[in-house]
Amino acid sequence: MSSTIVAMAHTADPGFVPPGIGDFNYPPIFPGTAVEWVTKPLLASVLAAVLVFVFFTVGARKRALVPGRFQFAVESTYTFIRNGVARDVIGHGFEKYVPFLVTVFAFIAVNNLFGIIPLIQFPTLARFGFPLMLAICSWLVYLGIGIRRAGFFGYFKSVMFPPGLPVFIYPLLAPIELLQVLVVRPFSLALRLTANMFAGHILLLLFTLGGTYMLTNENLVLKVLAPFSLAGAIGLTSFEAFIEVLQAYIFTLLTALYIAEAMSEEH
């Protein structure tokens, strides 16, 4: 009896099921083995690391005076971050942090662009764990820079008690600033990246799944309207490409800003 109900529930048309959080949970690739934790996002992030490594290693090998196409692509990526982010935001003494910023930018950009590359089509950083580790990396970097500059207590004193304010403000300001530096910054970095990629992926899923559902429906009106949904998906794909690179830029920009703030003497 119960099995027939289950069978009926499966055969009955459940209507359109909107994409949700469940679409971000991938099953293990090797179930039942010791490497059960290997999933598609994990492999994609490893592939991204390899791609970034190959891109910069091969591009920097020749170092021709007149660059070819590939070398030009590598050099303009590097120059964009070096001049547009590191030099303009950090200012004096920025050279030390250029490699970190370029690596972060390239890794995030490649991982995000996986969201629209066929066969992968999953933005790895939509899983909260990946951007959280990246945010912790930049958290450690800016805390390390600040502590090395002013010492442990000196740094936190300069964060919590910026000079030049009336005394009665400090009880209010000090906990907020401490929370800001220790918790809010890494979490907002990670959350911004995750939520952007998550929302973009959901949007693409909604348009493509919805378009497919409308196309396969018997209703003629839905069939006629389906191409618009699919065309919307194509348009949104290029919009996503823009958002994905923009988010990588914003992550790098904010990291550079936090580094600059930790480096400066005044708060």
Binding site: P18, G22, V89, L257
Partner: protein, 70 residues
């Protein structure tokens, strides 16, 4: 949340959360555009500032998005 169940509460949370950041991002880019229109050579100085403000405002809408799915 049950992934199969679709309620209107989540979308409404995000809809309300998107109002303020929508206005804020509009103001930021309006100021950026008029700044560049007045002084095109200031584009490189204004761009990081504009995107910084954009990122700080956008996070509010994104927190709303996360709460919509919780």
């Amino acid at each position: 949340m049950d992934p199969q169940k679709f309620t209107l509460a989540g979308p409404l949370v995000y809809a309300i959360a998107a109002v303020g950041p929508g206005i804020g991002i509009g103001l930021i880019f309006a100021a950026y555009v008029s700044g560049v229109a007045r002084q095109p050579e200031a584009n490189n100085i204004l761009r990081p500032i504009a995107f910084l403000g954009f990122a700080l405002v956008e996070i509010l809408a994104l927190i709303g998005l996360v709460f919509a799915f919780l």
